[in-house]
């Protein structure tokens, strides 16, 4: 078991972002198939059959999400969430920069499936190069008649617009993203109503991750059953893993779900640095609880296995830490990130993230108190599930797991007043 290149099949070809290269590899034939041979409902049905789950982090079944779109006369919108801001995540960037037409084809098929004529790509502000690539790819595709008023001559109108964010992590949350897209403050909205019924401009809207949408063409091409044959019982298909940290070959690797973690860490990424031992792993982006070296033993990379170990697959951003890492500082750094990125609307998240940083600041400075650890652990009962959007829970992920699993390290630092690693 090694890499299985489905999404990444094209990325190494020279000029892979160009339309001609993409077409040579059979590009946009899947869109043709969908537009001419399939009804929208059939596409949704195939995606449901495939068992594809949202690749942005939450892992919600994509086909089910699409099924929530009400049958109304209101215009419908598809949004591709390319606001890849989770620390440690850089998988979407590969698709955006190296294979933009795959993404566009996925968006076009998905838009057709849900009945949308307009789709937006909300790309994070820092991905300036990616935004330029996407824009030129859209222009190419429109000039070739693939997108636009008459997509591939089918009479179906598909218009894709790139919208650049302004650098807020919370805008990766779908309702904040919608607010930002509408030109408002990037504040998450109350749910319900969910975007599928009232999203952009109060119209039905589907928000999907880049990787999710890029997987759709393969499902259309080879069928949902084929896609479902990959992976484990509840985790189907392939997934991009962006592995970083104290390893020899960081990067983006595509694996079939259910592949042992060992394959990713040691075979593909080359293992931890020489002479060092594995200490902890954050398996799915900074919001997911960290796992110790013992806990990742025998772990397979799929939704259910990681969940059973008390963490999540998340966005597939694996952060590896060896024994040179000071967990106190890791937790402190991540807390600072969340305190900076909280939108400030709801009390638990706004105040909790600020206080977290204040306490951890003190501990890092060497002025910590033993009671502080219990106060920090108590945050879970105040913040978990009580916030307006998932950001508050995300901030708890590294904090709670870091303190419970590496408590002795915190205690040592508080007692001695300095870092002992």
């Amino acid at each position: 078991m090694g890499e299985y290149r489905l999404l990444l099949a094209n990325v190494d070809k020279p000029g892979s972002h160009k339309l001609e290269v993409y077409r040579k590899a059979g590009g946009y034939e899947r869109l043709r198939k969908a537009l001419f041979e399939m009804k929208p409902d059939e596409v949704v049905e195939e995606v449901k059959k495939s068992g594809l789950r949202g690749r942005g982090g939450a892992g919600f079944p994509t086909g089910v999400k699409w099924g929530f779109v009400p049958k109304t006369d209101l215009p419908k919108y598809l949004i591709c969430n390319a606001d890849e801001g989770e620390p440690g995540t850089f998988k979407d960037r590969v698709i955006i920069e190296k294979d933009p037409h795959l993404l566009l084809e996925g968006i076009a098929i998905s838009a057709y499936a849900i009945g949308a004529h307009e789709a937006f790509i909300y790309i994070r502000g820092e991905y300036e190069y990616g935004a330029r690539i996407l824009e030129s790819a859209i222009r190419e595709a429109e000039e070739a008649g693939i997108l636009g008023d008459n997509a591939l001559g089918s009479g179906y109108r598909i218009k894709i617009v790139v919208h650049r964010g302004a650098g807020a992590y919370v805008c990766g949350e779908e309702t904040a993203l919608i607010n930002s897209l509408e030109g408002r403050r990037g504040h998450p909205r109350l749910r319900p109503p969910f975007p599928a019924s009232k999203g952009v401009y109060q119209c039905p809207t589907i928000v999907n991750n880049v990787e999710t949408l890029a997987s759709v063409p393969f499902i259309v091409e080879k069928g949902g059953d084929w896609y479902a044959s990959l992976g484990t019982e509840k985790s189907k298909g392939t997934k991009l893993f962006s592995i970083s940290g104290h390893i020899k070959r960081p990067g983006v690797y595509e694996l079939i779900l259910g592949t042992p973690f060992d394959v990713l860490l040691n075979e593909l990424a080359g293992g931890v640095r020489d002479g060092r031992k594995l200490k902890a792993v954050i398996p799915g982006g900074s919001s997911t609880p960290m796992l110790t070296a013992e806990e990742v033993e025998g772990m397979t990379l799929d939704y259910e296995n990681i969940q059973a170990r008390g963490s999540q697959l998340g966005s597939g951003a694996v952060i590896v830490m060896d024994d040179s890492t000071n967990i106190v500082k890791v937790v402190w750094r991540l807390a600072k990130f969340y305190a900076h990125e909280s939108c400030g609307q709801c009390t638990p998240c706004r105040e909790g993230t600020r206080w977290m940083v204040q306490i951890l600041d003190r501990i890092v400075r060497g002025e910590g108190r033993m009671e502080d650890l219990d106060v920090l652990l108590d945050f879970e009962s105040i913040m978990a599930g009580n916030c307006l959007c998932p950001l508050g829970d995300a901030a708890l992920g590294p904090l709670i797991s870091g303190i419970t699993k590496f408590r002795s390290e915190f205690e040592a630092q508080i007692k001695s007043g300095r870092c002992l690693v």
Binding site: A339, Q345, E351, W355, I359, N386, C387, L388
Partner: protein, 737 residues
């Protein structure tokens, strides 16, 4: 209807009710900060979290709709823990200086902390404090105390159709404030104070004057406009310190005039003794001598030589008293239309503010509604917020012009003509509306909009609109300049108009005048006539609170009561009666109008019946079809100027409301962007306005929406006698830099 159980208590509520509303019905207290009954729920503070059976997470009660059979618990350890946590979080960086915070006693954070919070905090780090910001004369914002519930921001968005007030920055450093303005005085600023659950936004009039719990509350009525909003006045030691709008009557919000306007009751310059003229001075000679003097003087005149000039905001009792007094002595002449209106009240067929806020299409005509009836303007903005299509055809309405969906701005002298041509179905190119604009307006009229007509329009226009509205089944509100027009008209307290009355005074056929609480120099646009008339009046009694330009001509000054110093009834624009109670004891000789008249009448040997048994407002009936009178512009020059009293000066007893006056410190001249460019003017420049003779210094405000060639100039300033150079509201003027 849905049946739900909260803490074992079963209640039945509407299907669309929230858990919080159901809990209120069940009598169970759920604490909240960001929820407000008249704002859209936001679910921000997370204080109202409750446990719902079958839901894994705690649920915010303010946004969650009930389901039939729902079981809610608010008394579980989980809820208690969450509440304690949220309060602890709210208090982390809160200054906790309740002993000198102005909100203490009425602070929701304080109340909820005492009730649901823990006695101690685990917070040992440094509190982040922020500087206090003064946003103009009315409000102070203390960011350190702010709990970021966004009630104020939501109010400005949902009701004011947007104002420069929003959240800036992110996370714990979110800051509420303005973007480009140094001050915020936007007609409804006071609601920000009232809506703030903590001491973050406080009123500069009330700040640090008195403790909340020492106040007793007295039900009163604001008399500034025809809505007569119910207000509660906070009273301590026979002095009012604070106004508050507690009841939803007629609407949930009030304007700054009502909130800060009670100040005149406590003003140090208020006169509380009856005065008599001795040579050049008004002096206190004792009540008895004053009454004797007045009765003796009145005895010298024939009834037709006596006339009354009445204020706006007249109570039913006062009007009845004046009527009876006039009948007692055969006096025929009285006039309430001091703004030189030529019309009498036509009334409306709208019953409440809700009807306006629920309307889908509203056609607002003429002006200046936001100035004369601010809460109606606010309700129109609320309708805009709810998605209504509001079209405004006017020459000047400072507040609404910036907020409506469609604006048709014309010259002031064309206003009546344009409205007349629209409703008579004949396009007239001289009205300043292009053919296309006219057709768009006509098409909008086909959607059967609600019509709101402002006080500037003439009688002929009013009659035509009422006629049209009744024939076509439209809703209409015809607003008068005087807020007491219904009462005054019903009691017949009008004659041929203020100008003809003043002409009579000038000519000497009216020799004695009773001027009741009106500063004629300020209110009557034809100031020259006022000066001539008052100069030749033989005998004048002035009733009021303050000494002013008109009182200077008086032979006798009688002090009046105001607001909660007397019991009175008022009739609002919807024809509804509101009552103001007497809650303040009188200190010296101040009395209401009717009580003075009673004293005078009894002195002259005739009893005056003050009891009002029944009141039913009467309205004018539409007869015939008149053409609007042409407006003849005086003066000469390239510009057409409209002279209006600005919002923060347009109220009763201006002399005693210094807080409100601070928002309008100097006369402003509004210039259209085209003229500003061609003249090289920008905001804050000073120019002098030449009105055919004298010239006046004005500060420039560039107003984008105005039509080219139109200026809007403020009047009503002390020592700034613009009116005396005019004979109407509109004139031709020149600008000199």
């Amino acid at each position: 209807m849905a049946r739900i159980t909260i803490d074992g208590i079963a209640v039945e509520v509407r299907d669309d009710a929230t858990i919080l509303e159901a809990a209120r019905k069940a009598g169970i207290d759920i604490p909240y900060f960001c929820y407000h009954p008249y704002l859209k729920p936001a679910g921000l503070c997370r204080m109202c979290l409750v446990e719902v059976e079958g839901m894994p997470k705690l649920t915010p009660a303010c946004v969650t709709q009930v389901r039939d059979g729902m079981v809610v618990r608010t008394d579980t350890p989980r809820v208690k823990k969450a509440r304690e946590g949220i309060i602890e979080f709210q208090l982390l960086h809160h200054p906790l200086d309740c002993p000198y915070c102005d909100q203490a006693g009425e602070c929701m954070l304080q109340d909820i902390t005492y009730r649901y919070g823990r006695a101690t905090s685990r917070f040992v780090d440094e509190k982040e404090l922020f500087p206090t910001k003064f946003y103009g004369p009315f409000i102070v914002y203390e960011q350190s105390r702010c709990i970021l519930c966004k009630r104020c921001v939501r109010f400005t968005h949902e009701y004011m159709a947007g104002t420069d007030w929003n959240v800036y920055f992110r996370a714990a450093h979110s800051l509420i404030g303005t973007y480009e303005n140094k001050e915020i005085a936007d007609y409804f600023t006071c609601n920000l104070v009232e809506i703030c659950p903590v001491g973050a936004i406080t009123s500069r009039l009330y700040r640090y004057k008195v403790r909340y719990w020492t106040l007793e509350w007295a039900r009163g009525v604001c008399r500034e406009c025809g809505l007569f909003c119910s207000l509660d006045y906070g009273i301590r030691e026979n002095k009012a310190y604070r106004a508050k709008h507690n009841v939803n009557s007629p609407g949930p919000w009030i304007c700054d005039k009502g909130y800060f306007g009670f100040e005149c009751m406590n003003h140090p310059e208020r006169i509380k003794f009856a005065l008599e003229r001795r040579e050049n001075k008004l002096v206190n000679v004792g009540l008895e001598k004053v009454l004797n003097g007045i009765t003796q003087a009145l005895g010298r005149y024939k009834p037709e030589e006596v006339a009354f000039i009445l204020p706006s905001g007249l109570s039913v009792e006062d009007a009845a008293g004046i009527r009876n007094f006039m009948d007692n002595f055969g006096i025929k002449k009285a006039e309430y239309r001091v703004g030189m209106e030529d019309y009498l009240p036509f009334g409306s067929n709208v019953d409440s503010l809700e009807e306006i806020s629920e309307a889908r299409n509203i056609l607002v005509l003429s002006g200046d509604i936001s100035n004369s009836y601010p809460v109606i303007a606010l309700t129109i903005c609320e309708a805009i917020g709810k998605g209504a299509n509001v079209v405004l055809l006017t020459s000047w309405d400072y507040y609404l012009m910036k907020r409506v969906n469609n604006l048709f701005c014309i010259k002031p002298s064309c206003e009546d003509g344009a409205i007349y041509s629209l409703f008579s179905g004949k396009w007239d190119e001289f009205t300043g509306l292009s053919r296309e604009e006219y057709e768009r307006l006509e098409a909008f009229l086909q959607t059967k909009p609600m019509i709101v007509l402002g006080p500037r329009a003439q009688e002929a226009v009013r009659a035509l609109i009422v006629d049209y509205a009744i024939k076509n089944g439209l809703k209409y509100i015809i607003l008068d300049r005087s807020s007491s027009s219904y009462v005054a008209y019903t009691y017949g307290l009008f004659c041929k108009g203020i100008d003809s009355l003043l002409e009579e005074v000038k000519a000497g056929s009216v020799k004695a005048l009773f001027v009741l609480g009106v500063d004629l120099f300020r209110e009557v646009p034809n100031g020259k006539l006022v000066r001539d008339a008052l100069g030749s009046v033989d005998f004048m009694v002035y009733m009021g609170l303050f000494f002013n330009g008109t009182a200077r001509y008086a032979d006798y000054f009688l002090p009046l009561t105001e607001l909660v110093e007397e019991e009175a009834h008022f009739v609002n624009v919807f024809g509804k009666l509101t009552k103001s109670k007497k809650s303040l004891a009188r200190e010296y000789e101040e009395r209401s109008i009717r009580e003075w008249l009673k004293l005078i009448s009894e002195k002259m040997g005739k009893k005056l019946d003050l009891e009002v048994r029944e009141f039913k407002p009467k309205f004018v009936l539409v007869e015939g079809n008149k053409k609007p009178k042409d407006i003849v512009l005086s003066g000469s020059g390239d510009f057409e100027a409209l002279f209006e009293i600005p919002f923060y000066r347009n109220f009763r007893y201006m002399e005693g409301k210094s807080k409100l006056l601070e928002a309008s410190p100097e006369p402003v001249l509004n210039v259209s962007i085209y003229d500003a460019r061609s003249l090289g003017l920008s905001n804050g420049d000073y120019v002098s306005l030449d009105i055919g003779g004298p010239s006046f210094k004005y500060k420039i405000r560039v107003f984008d929406e105005l039509v080219k060639g139109v200026l809007v100039a403020d009047t009503g300033f002390e020592g700034f006698p613009v009116n005396e150079a005019l004979n109407n509201r509109i004139a031709k003027v020149k600008i000199k830099k």
